[in-house]
Symmetry: C2
């Protein structure tokens, strides 16, 4: 089958493909020697803010592996800086926010901003990437999901139980709604700007939404994700809606939107797809830890997931979360090869 | 209804009760001023190893709240010391193991031991507690689940992704099986010794099992949990089988065993019970973070869970995980009162 449109975009729209497309969350990053080399000279924020460096890092995995999509190198927390957050990345600690939100006053202090102005380097990197990438490799833009971003803003960094964020929800709901409203408008504007700059699909990473009960997700998050994804849908660019620990939220996440729903390995892909509904594409879902396994294990688990997808159009192969630091490059290659050489059982003539 | 047997034990066996029993994981601990006071004088391991102190801490929440069960104060990692692990609790870091398992040689080095000898203080605390507790307050014993204990042994402490443990599974399965075999025999002997000492029910805390895909749980963990829970079942004492992030493992966990299955807040209680099957009791499942919420929020979420239980016999109210440090004592009281005063909708005459 020769298709004018890349197989990743076709799969997002549940159109038939010659082989299952594959890309990886955090496919550019610490596990790559080329990236670590560059990080000796430049900080994370410096790379994100220098279009030529962001371009270079984005292309590293594209050059190393036969991937079906590129994702612009950026950080979900970049938009927090123009909003007024004092963000830094301390070595070994991860992101730290010196002035987190703890009450309605803190929310009122936050600024709205124009992404074209304040997030220009990422948009510029997207433009450069569209010229640099082959036509067969579409470019994905992305943003953090509203719950995940709000958690960072409230907790001031990574958190085990998100009790500060949840406490704000439960005790100062008007502060929560105000914050979510601001985050939603910002995220929407940022994703639309990325699409305008040339991103051919966008992913909403609500990685932490799975910390919520379904009832709380529905009350406190779903309406906001829905607003963002609705606005993206109107552009015609496909969207991917991703969370972890989200097995019990899949129906609600699908209801909120997304052409494809990203799922982690805690749920079997066939069950997840049934829950989400076959009118959506699905992305996932190999446990990133499997890439520390033997070659046989990696290949067997990759094939199991492809078997579960059952050759239906609309499966995008990915891990269930980002590639872990320390992952061997050879393991990444092995997964890509296993996906691309896969022949569905009894469907050798398929495609 | 006046029952000769305490309502917690009746609920474990799905017998009718006058009101839903309630206890809390980590009901003794840092959130209680009385506990923090004692910790100024004694270390965690010192308390666990001194029966009179373990007794005192176990009774603190029983004296403060109208709880339906006590749980002996101990730590799931205590059995690791007689096995040969060099365990310490550093302030603010949590448990640290200086000599973790990384290969088959490390497993072969581990010792089997007699709990009656090496874990005597916990067994002695159980004996003392049975005399100290009123007949209406049964005593729960416990142990860590095989996956959770193996993770600690391999990772050497808490972990975000358990990649060392999973890597051992995937690359050195014979080392994994050998370790699980040892952990299982030890856990089985330890729980039987607790029951013999007077524990009237036991809980298996496989808190981290939810990090695994259902396929991997079934391959690498389920047979071992099954062995432990089968041995407990033969004593006649009810068992509770608990995990977090376990929405997709519930069928497999129930298959492994447990008179009651403990579930976290990520799954709605009614759906969870349906999945587990009504031939089992269910324990849970309020999000511990809700206890940082307003009184209205706490009461509404407690009632929602009781509504979902639908007045069926076999619901034990609990949080979906342990009480968080910093939880207000008043919030704990509020939940206990809300559970005990609950009247099922349209069943005011029930019981």
């Amino acid at each position: 089958m020769n298709s004018p449109e890349p197989r990743f975009l076709r799969a997002c729209r549940r159109q038939p493909v010659d082989r299952t497309p594959v890309w990886f969350m955090r496919q550019a990053g610490r596990y790559m020697p080329a990236y670590r080399q560059l990080r000796k000279k430049y900080g994370l924020l410096e790379i994100c803010r220098t279009p030529e460096l962001a371009l270079q890092v984005t292309l590293q995995p594209i050059e190393a592996f036969e991937l079906d999509a590129a994702i612009v190198f950026a950080d979900i927390l970049l938009p927090l800086v123009p909003m007024g957050f004092d963000l830094s990345f301390a070595k070994g600690v991860g992101p730290q926010i010196a002035n987190p939100v703890r009450a309605i006053d803190d929310v009122q202090r936050l600024r709205s901003f124009d992404p074209a102005q304040e997030l220009a380097p990422t948009l510029e990197a997207i433009k450069l990437l569209r010229s640099a990438l082959p036509a067969s490799t579409p470019l994905i833009g992305f943003a953090g999901g509203p719950f995940t971003l709000a958690c960072y803003m409230i907790e001031g960094g990574a958190s085990r139980n998100y009790e500060r964020a949840k406490s704000l929800m439960y005790t100062q709901p008007s502060a929560w709604w105000a914050l979510m409203d601001l985050v939603t408008s910002m995220t929407q504007a940022y994703l639309l700007a990325q699409i305008e700059a040339g991103a051919q699909a966008v992913q909403l990473f609500d990685s932490w939404a799975g910390a919520l009960s379904p009832t709380d997700y529905q009350r406190f998050v779903q309406p906001y994700s829905q607003r963002v994804l609705q606005a993206v849908a109107e552009t015609g660019a496909p969207s991917l809606h991703f969370g972890t620990n989200s097995a019990t939220l899949l129906e609600l996440m699908a209801e909120a939107g997304g052409d494809a729903i990203g799922v982690d390995w805690r749920v079997e892909l066939d069950r997840a797809w049934q829950t989400i509904g076959y009118d959506r594409a699905i992305q996932g879902n190999l446990d990133p830890s499997v890439l520390f396994g033997s070659d046989d294990e990696i290949q067997a688990q990759t094939r199991r997931i492809l078997d579960q997808a059952g050759g239906r159009p609309g499966h995008i192969f990915n891990l269930g979360h980002g590639i872990l630091p320390g992952t061997p490059m050879t393991a990444v290659s092995l997964v890509v090869d296993a996906v691309h050489s896969y022949q569905p059982v009894g469907q050798a003539e398929h495609g």
